[in-house]
Amino acid sequence: MNASPRPMLLAALALAAGVALVGLRDQTPPYAPYGSVVPIALVPSLTGEPEYCLTCHDGIEEISPAHPTEVFGCVRCHGGQPLALDAETAHAGLLGGRNPSDFAVVEAACGGSECHGGTAEEGRDHIQRSRTSLQATYAGAIAAVRHAFGAQADSIAHFAVAAVSDPTMTSATGLPSLEALLPLATSEPAQVQALAERCLTCHLNTSSLDRPGFQRQSGCAACHAVANWEGTYSGGDRTIRRDESGHAAAHRLTTASPYSQCNTCHNRGNYSLVDMAFHERTDLASDGSAPRLAAYYQPISQFSACEWELDCIDCHAAGEVMGDGDLHSQMAEVRSVECRTCHGTPTEAPLTRSITDPDDLALRQARLNPASALQLGDTVVVTDRGDTLWNVLRRPEGAFVLTSKVSGTVYAVPQVSGSACEQDPKDQAASACHECHSIERP
């Protein structure tokens, strides 16, 4: 007697169901929700190996014209797994999470002697300079607070936010090393411990407070990846949420950082040594809609017309902002731009130099900025420490013009010599110029 065929049929149906499920799974790969069902390959010329990041991240902006996608690809800077097509495996080994310029991983991501980890002579020492700069070490503030509360006798920095050392010192005030300031160091006075606990969020080694107006990334991206007031992303990558703070506005690096980017740390309020707390400024609208004149500086500040019409980086060039490669104790040791740098004094014209070398760093920097028309042979202004302001030219007829790095506007730079200025040539501090030239805010 033959057995019923029904069990076999059911088993065959079960197998067919399994096959159908396999087919279904094959047609709906994990990256399908992002739009592309076919993996998108990118073969950068630098590595020659295919990368499939764009399968999900299709639509993301090219990071910058100096880092073309077809040359660099994604993995060279971000790390990760080029062949993988699901998020978890693809992002294994990602350098610095979303931000490969975070100082914990910047050497691996942005370094290399051909890139940003080279020598000072070639002008490729960006990483070394920014890691030792005061914006990264915060050494000045720490030294001042420790000095104020008796933890150290002078104002020379001993501590930084993270331990850093610099064996080659090129300036008179350079330091060989700084230790990390630890919040749990009970040998420190209570106020210094409070500083270590609460006040160390405005430096390049960490990301910012997660509040509107403070939004910036860590590392190089702190200045070079512009964020909006809310810190939301508004670019073309579908995998990045639009309603989340903590993002740069777009996947773009720029050398033309606007004043608003500097103001994610600067001009946000004041510290009080009395209660060791940060008091945010209260004069601004909370939605970031305050006009430039109101937003630029704090209510207590004095400033002249150029100091709010221009952006910060139009005067405070890379040599000051990124540091000179040495560890310093105070801003004053690196700051070199003064009013007279561009405007001169009654008896002296601004210091200048001519660009004669086609490999001149000023030319390379200028080429990154589309507004600049700097040419070989032009004469540019320098500070008395030698920092070049390549956006301030002396025309052949003797007039000085400044091109704003951010807006591209060309300004005539009035000269003190031959004007009605009543300055004391020996007093070149900004406050002296502000006595007459400061602006009243409405």
């Binding site: 069990p7 197998l15 399994g18 499920l21 396999v22 062949l83």
Partner: protein, 344 residues
């Protein structure tokens, strides 16, 4: 295919013309031995297909698995089938061992086959562990280090075993190729040979252990056509289960192993979690080598010295309490240690 008068097929010929129905009861054997054989077949075939794309070098191993998982058409399926049939094999082999121990199937002339099965289990665990290592990714890095260092602890033979396994003074380039050789050939071939011998011994020892029939009772027999049909049914169901699980759950894959950046979460593969838990308690030689070996020895001696009973063919026979308690205790110990490892 074949009617009652047609000649038997190849598959039918692999079986005796008929077997006593008492041997074929599903509730008695739970089909675990057969399922193990099926999973062994699937794991071998899927592994053979994976051979076409997997690259056993330290630089390329992880990348070749990513290629399989994401780019080769249905490569994800081959990998999934290979992984899940392998893990299912370990489970059914272990349960099969427990079933045999609890039904007295290791008694009498079947004692030697019990040893063969035990050796098969050890080889299958070795195959599973070497297979994990072939991923060469960050999550198996520490497990591989610990596992191979544990080999070193074996007295006298330890260093030699370690070198044989790892191919050098430490984990490195040669290790992937070594693991590959062990996985695909060095452990596989003995496993295949033992499997064939194991199945042969089942037949030679009189088939699946069953109570000898009383003199006047009828002894119905199951023709091999029905037996093959039943096996086919089981294979279809197990196969569809494998396909469903492989579609819904992919085996994990981490980035390539980079000794500078090993993950902080360190897990042994699930079937060795019990050893990891033991090793938390102290000396690697006593806890990592001696204790597991002692358990294995006890199991091996089960039909020779520990179990003297004679009743066959039923669950939990009365005359085998000591052996049953031992088997259950070992299983419980394994289970509790593994649970502890899972819950961490």
């Amino acid at each position: 295919m074949s009617s009652a008068t047609a000649r038997p097929s190849f598959f039918e010929h692999l079986h005796p013309p008929s077997i006593p129905e008492a041997q074929a009861r599903f509730r008695y054997t739970l089909g675990l031995g057969g399922l193990s054989a099926f999973f062994f077949l699937v794991v071998s075939l899927s592994g053979a297909l994976l051979l076409f794309y997997y690259s056993p070098s330290a630089e390329q191993a992880n990348a070749s698995i990513q290629l399989l998982q994401y780019h080769v058409p249905l490569g994800w399926l081959m990998r999934g089938l290979h992984f899940w049939s392998g893990q299912a094999l370990v489970v059914t082999a272990g349960l099969h061992l427990l079933r045999v121990a609890l039904t007295g199937g290791h008694r009498g002339r079947r004692r030697f086959n019990w040893l063969l099965g035990l050796a098969l289990l050890v080889l299958v665990l070795g195959l599973d562990f070497s297979g994990y290592g072939l991923r060469w990714d960050a999550s198996i890095g520490w497990a591989l280090l610990v596992g191979t260092n544990l080999l070193r602890q074996v007295p006298l033979l330890g260093e030699g075993l370690y070198r044989w396994a790892v191919g050098g003074p430490g984990l490195g380039e040669a290790t992937v190729l070594r693991l590959f050789g062990w996985h695909v050939f060095g452990l596989m071939l003995p496993a295949l040979a033992l499997l064939v011998w194991h199945l042969f011994r089942v037949r030679r020892d009189g088939g699946i252990a069953h109570a000898p029939p009383a003199a006047d009772e009828p002894t119905p027999r199951l023709p091999r056509r029905e037996l093959v049909r039943g096996e086919l049914l089981a294979m279809l169901l197990a196969g569809s289960a494998l396909l469903i699980v492989a579609s819904l759950a992919a085996p994990a894959l981490d980035g390539p192993l980079d000794s500078a950046a090993l993950s902080t979460e360190v897990h042994a593969p699930w079937f060795f979690l019990w050893i990891q838990e033991l090793l938390r308690l102290g000396d690697p030689l006593w806890l990592g080598v001696a204790l597991p070996l002692a358990a294995l020895t006890l199991l091996a001696l089960l039909p020779y010295s520990i179990d003297r009973g004679t009743i066959l063919g039923r669950w939990l026979p009365r005359d085998g309490r000591i052996a049953q308690v031992l088997a259950l205790a070992l299983a419980l110990g394994w289970g509790l240690l593994t649970l502890r490892g899972v819950l961490r």
